[in-house]
């Protein structure tokens, strides 16, 4: 086990999968000669050459569609969006082409492609560069959506995503690239898609968190333990398909749930999880499900306003105390 950053873990996963399968190639803006806008692809051009690691023009719709077409013809593209904000330009190809190709071709053309890059809130870059749009992609059948929160998950899940035969949206949190953690050295280490992870066991309240809010929830759980509240923290890791069984099991044990997410609350993943809990475990609930979400506003620039728009440890602690009827 080595302790490395999420950035390094992703880099290892890409390196290992490029080495493992000639069909895998990496394409995106600044991924090659610049070593990646966020240095996730550092050194890969040197190691694998310009055939496999390809700088693109700023043409998101174009290279996303090119990737889907290449997948139709037998390759396994990894398409990097410099950030997922720019994937909005490519949604036609992701949703109308990648997600639906297998179905509308009657099972003839699966699309083994990964669209990856940083997502979620960043540091003071205002409205167009700082947003969490996982619920858009998770809405569509035919796509898988993955959001790791630790270096080990990042590596194991990215390797699985590249080996998967379906389109995978792989969202890395822009603020978390430097987060460190232990990662197994085994080059065959993978984590299956669609399996939630219990990041901390507890018995009083379940906190469902993903991506940015996982470390926040773990800190909140530490504080709450001091206050006599035992929290279980569950990270679904894959948003679609969602491992709802693991969440429901936990709810049946704790009977209280807080969902922590940095995305907007309306039509969000938290709303979906909440609905599933109500449908499957209503009789087990001792309090209404509580969401801690990003503010329902475009992301502001000013530091104080930005802090108010993103969930923090205090708000998660307050929400847990609320569902536990402690205040």
């Amino acid at each position: 086990m080595a302790t490395i950053t999420i950035r390094e873990a992703l880099n290892q996963a890409l390196r290992e999968e490029l080495a493992r399968d000639e069909k895998v190639f990496l394409m995106g803006e600044e991924v090659a000669e610049y070593d990646g806008a966020y240095k996730v692809t550092k050194g890969l051009l040197r190691e694998f050459g310009a055939k496999r690691v390809i700088d693109t023009p700023i043409t998101e719709l174009g290279f996303a569609g090119l990737g889907v077409g290449a997948a139709m013809a037998g390759l396994r593209p990894v398409i990097e969006f410099m950030t997922f904000n720019f994937s909005i330009l490519a949604t036609d190809q992701i949703i109308n082409s990648a997600a639906k190709m297998l179905y509308m071709s009657g099972g003839q053309f699966n699309i083994p492609i990964v669209f990856r890059g940083p997502s979620g809130s960043a540091f003071q870059v205002s409205s167009q560069h700082s947003q969490a749009i996982e619920s858009w992609y998770a809405y569509f059948p035919g796509i898988k959506v993955v959001m790791p929160s630790t270096p080990a998950d990042a590596k194991g899940l990215l390797k699985s995503a590249i080996r998967d035969d379906d389109p995978v949206i792989f969202m890395e949190q822009e603020r978390m690239y430097g987060n460190k953690g232990e990662v197994p050295d085994d080059p065959d280490f993978t984590i299956p898609l669609g399996v939630a992870d219990v990041k901390r066991e507890g018995k009083d309240v379940t906190i469902v968190a993903r991506s940015l809010t996982v470390p926040l929830a773990l800190k909140a759980a530490e504080q709450l333990e001091q206050q006599g509240v035992s929290c279980e923290v569950i990270d679904p890791r894959t948003i679609r398909p969602l491992d709802i069984e693991t969440i429901i099991e936990s709810v049946k044990k704790t009977n209280r749930v807080v969902i922590a997410e940095e995305s907007h609350p309306i039509c969000g993943v938290g709303a979906e999880i909440s609905a599933e809990i109500m449908e499957r475990a209503f009789d087990y609930l001792d309090a209404p499900v509580k969401r801690v979400s990003g503010a329902d506003v475009p992301m502001p620039y000013a530091k104080n306003l930005e802090n108010l728009a993103i969930p923090d440890v205090d708000r998660i602690v307050a929400a847990v105390r609320e569902v536990a009827y402690l205040d």
Partner: protein, 379 residues
């Protein structure tokens, strides 16, 4: 992948860089007396007959057979649509047969074709059976896409027909990607990408042409300019209407082609295919054509006059080609009639097949969503 600037189009000779008014290209028929129309038609026929050399009689007849099959197939599709056997949208290829047949005759079966939603004829030309296309139109389990795609999403991996795409211009980046993949894999396969002229106004077109020339991808972009994007004429939608010229913005080779002459289309495509196979160079072909039917079966067509349609029908690609074939004594009227009878028979058989085929099993609703489905709760 190197980012060399493309060399100037290697075969950018006078023939390929004709202006839109140059010989061999169909412009709007003049709004004049029948004498002039006849003269134009005769000139078109003379040009077509000049192109007979290099093709044997069987090849010529095969081109005509395919065009005829598409014409009869689409006529029957229109009837079946009116009879309620076909649902949704149904965009017919009548009038444009020479484009698909001529272009696809210039490639191999292991080459790829991608198309828009006006693709029944292209699917047939690429070698899909009338049965599998008609059954798909009927929404039956035996259709090429198992009844899940319909008129706008025909696919057949076995013959390299990669859809049937229904967002205007959406197939253009995809085709750029299949061309990327064949070059990456070191094969000499090429991709033909068909789209209407209205797709040229989409960003996807421009993004794709830029990448294809920048990276030298063996993709042939075939713009079927039928002069209307649904009900909006080219004149109302495009500032620079000579579409082939747009290739200049990307240093790409291009040609204007008469889309009513199957042999002109074939020859232009052969030149582009050679460029793609040998040098991985893309080409933009603007093929001028006309659709004789509405945009789709639900189009009342009140944006163009009956007279305009009739003028173009004077240049019907099937009429032109059959007249050339007769005059060159490739076959006689009796043989032509026999070809027509067989086309009818094949289409009638496809209708029967569609009628008799079962609907998709209700369980098919939930299949083909994921290649690697993940069961809930899998550990």
């Amino acid at each position: 992948m190197s980012k060399q600037t493309a060399e100037p189009p290697s075969a950018a000779n006078a023939e390929e860089q004709q202006s839109s008014t140059g010989a061999g290209v169909m412009d709007a028929p003049p709004d004049v007396d029948p004498q002039l129309l006849k003269k134009e038609r005769d000139q078109a026929k003379a040009r077509q007959k000049d192109r007979f050399s290099g093709l044997d009689n069987d090849q010529l007849i095969e081109l005509y057979r395919q065009m005829l099959l598409i014409r009869r197939f689409e006529e029957k599709s229109a009837e079946a649509y009116v009879a309620g056997k076909i649902g949704g949208f149904c965009h017919l290829y009548i009038g444009q047969e020479a484009v698909g047949v001529g272009a696809i005759s210039a490639i191999r079966q292991d080459d790829y074709v991608l198309a828009s939603y006006r693709e029944h004829g292209l699917a047939l030309a690429k070698g899909m059976s009338a049965r599998s296309v008609m059954a798909e139109l009927f929404g039956k389990a035996t259709g090429c896409s198992k009844g899940k795609g319909g008129s706008m999403h025909m696919f057949d991996k076995s013959v390299g027909f990669l859809g049937g795409h229904a967002i205007v211009g959406g197939q253009i980046p995809l085709a750029t990607g299949t061309a990327f993949a064949t070059k990456y894999q070191g094969t000499d396969q090429v991709t033909l990408c068909f789209f209407g002229e209205a797709a040229v106004n989409q960003g996807a077109f421009h993004e794709s042409l830029n990448m294809a020339q920048l990276w030298k991808l063996p993709c042939i972009y075939i713009c079927e300019n039928n002069q209307y994007g649904m009900g909006t004429s080219l004149a109302r939608a495009m500032s620079l209407r000579d579409i082939a010229q747009k290739a200049c913005a990307y240093e790409m080779a291009s040609e204007f082609v008469d889309g009513m002459d199957v042999l002109a289309v074939r020859e232009a495509t052969l030149r582009a295919v050679e460029r793609a196979r040998k040098d991985y160079l893309p080409t933009l072909l603007e093929i001028r054509t006309y659709r004789f039917m509405g945009h789709s079966m639900s189009d009342p067509g009140n944006y163009r006059t009956r007279a305009e349609i009739e003028k173009y029908q004077e240049r019907d690609p099937l009429k032109l080609f059959s007249a050339s074939l007769l005059e060159e004594k490739v076959l006689d009227q009796k043989a032509l009639d026999e070809l027509d009878r067989r086309a009818h028979e094949e289409v009638d058989d496809s209708i029967r097949f569609g009628d008799e085929s079962p609907l998709p099993d209700p369980e098919e609703l939930y299949t083909d969503i994921y290649a690697n489905p993940i069961e809930p709760g899998r550990k």
